[in-house]
């Protein structure tokens, strides 16, 4: 079946602009995760959804970052007033259940803030 998809694959924006990154998880997966991967580093956790609710948003770096999953499927990561330091690859993952169930990752969105 289809895997996790993310759009756009690349996003270039200017400092101070607003961006939205979309994640479409594997059908039937209840848990959805966002990670951020900076150059030369491993992915870092941002936020985790169980169904429609954000069960853990402890990884969001500040209040410019926000994510939603209104119908328990597609999720959108929103970044306000982008800064150059936000440039990274944003990865989305989903798993059938929460907990230690295997997380399946999408290809990521490469965000570049000029």
């Amino acid at each position: 079946g289809a895997g996790v998809s993310q759009t756009p694959s690349n996003k270039v924006t200017e400092k101070g602009k607003y961006v939205e990154l979309r994640c479409d998880p594997i059908s039937g997966h209840t848990a959805l995760y966002w990670y951020r991967q900076s150059l030369g580093q491993g992915p870092e956790f941002l936020i985790y959804f169980q169904g429609t609710g954000a069960a853990d948003d402890s990884g969001l770096p500040n209040d410019r970052f926000f994510a939603v999953r209104p119908e328990g499927s597609v999720s959108t990561l929103k970044i306000q007033r982008t800064e150059r330091g936000d440039s990274a690859v944003y990865l989305c993952a989903s798993s059938k259940l929460a907990g230690t169930d295997t997380q399946y990752f999408g290809p990521g969105t490469r965000l570049t803030v000029l």
């Binding site: 995760y33 956790f45 295997t102 290809p107 990521g108």
Partner: protein
């Protein structure tokens, strides 16, 4: 707190040679452990995972990993590397009931012919 260390940033091996990528973890209880591979421009693909039971875990693409509690290690191995194995490899451990993964910094594998 849980953490993962991958001591080798880069490794170069010859095609056909054996491979071992190191991973050390810090975890309060018996850990769940994962190895993922990331090819350029690709997302992370799960190679294998350890939950419990047999400490030698077989994965996809001919990879295996061995969990050694006494050494807090979960090293990834392959007996004969192929050029297509060139990629970046990440070891990961779940944090707090497994709801988020903590990744190592990754090891970039280069395969020379």
């Amino acid at each position: 707190a849980q953490s993962v260390t991958q001591p080798d940033i880069h490794i170069t091996v010859s095609e056909g040679a054996s491979l071992e990528l190191r991973c050390n973890y810090s975890y309060g209880a018996t850990p769940y452990l994962f190895w993922y591979v990331q090819s350029p421009g690709q997302g992370l693909q799960l190679l294998l995972k350890y939950f419990s039971g047999d400490t030698l875990v077989q994965g996809i693409k001919g990879f295996e990993a061995e969990f050694k509690r006494s050494q807090s290690s979960f090293n990834l191995r392959k007996p004969s590397v192929h050029w297509s194995d060139a990629a970046e490899y990440f070891c990961a451990v779940p944090m707090e009931y497994g709801n988020k993964l903590v990744f190592g910094a990754g090891t970039i594998l280069r395969v020379k012919s």
